[in-house]
Amino acid sequence: MDIVNGVLSGSRLALSRAITAVENEYDEAVEIMQKLYLHTGRAYVIGITGPPGAGKSTLTDKIAKDFRRQGKKVGIVAVDPTSPYSGGAILGDRIRMNELTEDEGVFIRSMATRGSLGGLSQKTAEVVKLMDAFGADVIIIETVGVGQSEVDIVKTADTTMVVLVPGLGDDIQAIKAGILEIGDIFTINKADREGIDRLNIEIEMMLELNPKEVNWRPPINRTIASKGEGIKDLMETIANHQQFLNESGELEVRRVERLKTELLAMINDQIGRYVVNKLTKSGEFDTMVNSIQQRERDPYSVVKSILASVLR
């Protein structure tokens, strides 16, 4: 199958196989990305994060349906953690999106974190690009906001939405530090629960302390996703942020920033891999590690000499 042409002509199977190639780091992944890259940059990317049980998948389902009513093609990447014990994972986000499965204008892919250090955000970004080249107008990345890697994933989005629910108690303290500062939009879901006003105040206070953007004050929405309540207002807020990004030039700024990060990561990754590969093959790597362990040499001068030989 010609995956590249398949993706460009809207083949769902080709897109699915391309994502697998990227996720499993198949050799052909680089070539696929190379050929598709110039067809990307058109989609609007929304990141949705929040603690477990906040109703992110249900909210994603409702948002996706609203975009569909606007005639937009939607891609969804749902990321769930891999079990540290077995390396396996249960990816259960689709359960709340089963209705979308039958809609040809929606493509949902579940991904496990697979414990890859740092590499996950890069993979997610690549999956987003594949969906972009496939023709998705809007791409939603949904992930549990519990750690730095999830925050990194969400950073690949144009608009980041943080979902919280009342009554999580102390959990919010831990979450606050990590994800509150990245939110462009806040949504308090399950807004029929007790404690909503307190949570609202808490978020307000956090925002006072962390003025992220001078020209955009993150709005706080209230929804009951399971009943579809508050979705209309939320969609308006999302549209407002998109408009703000476009009109203020912030979209360009963010995308350039992101590009820098991505490029740097790729350089680091590629050069690192190249060097390590070469040294491992020749057996030098083990010798070096050994000599450092024995305190015969220090790692700083070892790296310096490696660089010198690579750059020669």
Partner: protein
């Protein structure tokens, strides 16, 4: 024997046992203590903890004489294929000495789809009988006098519709609603938590349930308006204490909903009934039945201030555990069911369904259903288990176990109260998670051979495929579709539309009791799918959210 002497005796016994353990090691993974003595039921107070049968707290049973008067109702759950086929099976069961009917509906009926709906494909008539309209219901109960039999219907989300059809059939037989006896399951909370045949979201579902309570208290006074079911919770993997705890928590939610709807607790509580599972561990099950009666009596009296004895009684239907039937060496299931029957009877059930040996493979044949019914009759007439009330009372082990299960259940009930009640605990996935954890633990114990299932992980044999299983004719779906087309052509469609429009308006007004409107639509031969369709339109559908 004074406690001090007893304690000393116990010490001496334990010392002796310690010595012999090296020579005679015990089996591993035994949950109960080695031995039970009066020390294990210290503070036991006969009048407070047990009382007399038919009296608070009903530990020993809900009637004064229990089975010395009448045996429990032998109620065999049955239904498959078309109304015609099921009607034949019911008449066969009644002729064989069955004393009550129990109707199994197929999944489309349980989920409010007519047989010609796309989602019904392949499912029509499979796990029960297909009922699309009053016309099918008339055939189902043809020549069965509804003023003489009591009928239990396993129907939940659309319980209101099927109850209305039953009332309408009775009208045609000339039997008024106040002469009807029976039960509808009508327990939506356990559908969300364990069984999966929900339709509407919790709020309108609870409204339908309280509408039924209210309607029946005035019009069908002998009807059991709900069968609050632990059976399926247990089948999904729960332990004995979880089964009764989660179910009683559901019961509390129903009572609260009815009180909130303005009803007086003593006006409806006497019509609430329960549904337990009779599992493999005989003595644990007996203790479970006893503990559950004691908990419910306390809940009703202390929490809800129920005055009438009837309101405090936990009356229970029981079914033997389907999930404990093995596909391997299916004849062994006859023995399992016999032991489970013994447990239910010693536990003091009011009615019982016994599973057939072939149900891990298919729906039961007539022959295997007969053996299952005979099992109950042998226990009733030959075993002596039914000859005295609550025969195991006073056993140190059974009383200690009853206390233990009660304590474990109370812990869960308190936890669920803290979460905000059963509906919230289900919404948060708490109850589902507890059940799943128990199910997974059980499975791993079996796979590690820490738990022996005879014929499955021990004492296996080479087996030939079983022959002569019941097969539901694949043409049932087509047959039902044709019946529907004929019905839609024949009936007064303008009348149907008018009744459905009235129902829709009623759905939108929370103060309206929907039962009379549903009854009107049923009488006009509106189909079940049409009626549920109207409610789906107004109420929306429940979306499951599973946590694993």
């Amino acid at each position: 024997m004074a406690n001090e002497t007893l304690k000393a005796g116990m010490q001496a016994y334990n010392a002796k046992v310690e010595k012999s353990l090296a020579k005679f090691p015990e089996r591993k993974n035994l949950a109960p203590n080695r031995l039970y003595t009066p020390l294990d039921i210290e503070g036991f107070d006969y009048e407070k903890d047990l009382g007399f049968p038919g009296e608070y707290p009903f530990t020993r049973g809900v009637q004064p004489t229990m089975y010395r008067g009448r045996f429990w109702t032998m109620r065999m759950y049955a239904g498959f294929s078309t109304a015609e086929e099921s009607n034949k099976r019911y008449r066969y069961l009644l002729e064989s000495g069955g004393t009550g009917l129990s109707v199994a509906f197929d999944l489309p009926t349980q989920i409010g789809y007519d047989s010609d709906h796309a989602m019904a494909e392949g499912e029509v008539g499979k796990v029960g009988v297909a009922i699309d309209s009053l016309a099918d219901m008339e055939i189902l109960f043809d020549q069965i006098p509804l003023d003489k039999v009591s009928t239990s219907m396993t129907i939940n989300a659309p319980a209101s519709v099927l109850l209305a059809m039953y009332i309408a059939v009775a009208e045609k037989q000339g039997v008024s609603a106040d002469k009807l006896n029976g039960t509808i399951q009508n327990d939506i909370l356990k559908e969300y938590a364990a069984r999966g045949t929900y339709i509407f979201p919790p709020k309108p579902s609870m409204r339908l349930i309280t509408n039924i309570f209210e309607f029946c208290s005035k019009n069908v006074p002998n009807w059991n308006t709900i069968s609050i079911s632990g059976y399926h919770i247990r089948e999904a993997g729960a332990t004995a204490s979880q089964e009764i705890a989660f179910t009683i928590a559901d019961g509390i939610a129903y009572v609260e909903a009815a009180i909130k709807a303005g009803m007086n607790v003593d006006d409806f509580a006497g019509r609430l009934s329960f549904f337990w599972n009779a599992h493999n561990n005989v003595l644990e099950e007996v203790a479970k039945f006893r503990a559950s009666r004691r908990i419910w009596a306390k809940v009703m009296k202390e929490r809800f201030g129920a005055q009438k004895a009837k309101s405090q009684m936990l009356r229970v239907h029981t079914q033997t555990a389907g999930s404990m039937l093995t596909a391997q060496q299916p004849d062994n299931n006859i023995i399992r069911v016999a032991l489970q029957t013994a447990a239910a009877v010693m536990g003091g059930t009011q009615s019982l369904h016994t599973n057939s040996k072939d149900e891990a493979l298919a729906l039961p044949t007539e022959d295997s259903v007969r053996i299952a019914l005979r099992t109950q009759q042998i226990v009733a007439y030959e075993s002596g288990l039914a000859d005295t009330v609550d025969p195991l009372a006073g056993s140190y082990y059974v009383e200690a176990l009853t206390n233990k299960i009660e304590a474990e259940a109370w812990d869960y009930i308190k936890k669920i109260d803290e979460i905000g009640g059963a509906p919230v605990a289900i919404e948060k996935g708490y109850i589902q998670k507890e059940i799943q954890d128990s199910a997974y633990k059980w499975q791993m114990e079996v796979e590690k051979n820490e738990r022996v299932i005879v014929g499955v992980n021990k004492f296996q044999i080479e087996e030939k495929p079983i022959e002569g299983l019941l097969r539901v004719d694949a043409s049932v779906g087509e047959l039902q579709k044709k019946k529907l087309a004929d019905l839609r052509a024949k009936r007064d469609n303008a009348a149907v539309d008018a009744k459905l429009a009235a129902l829709e308006a009623g759905c939108k007004d929370e103060n309206v009791n929907l039962m009379p409107l549903i009854l009107d639509a049923v009488r006009a031969y509106a189909t079940e799918g049409e009626i549920c369709g109207v409610m789906r339109k107004v109420f929306g559908e429940y979306q499951a959210h599973t946590t694993l």
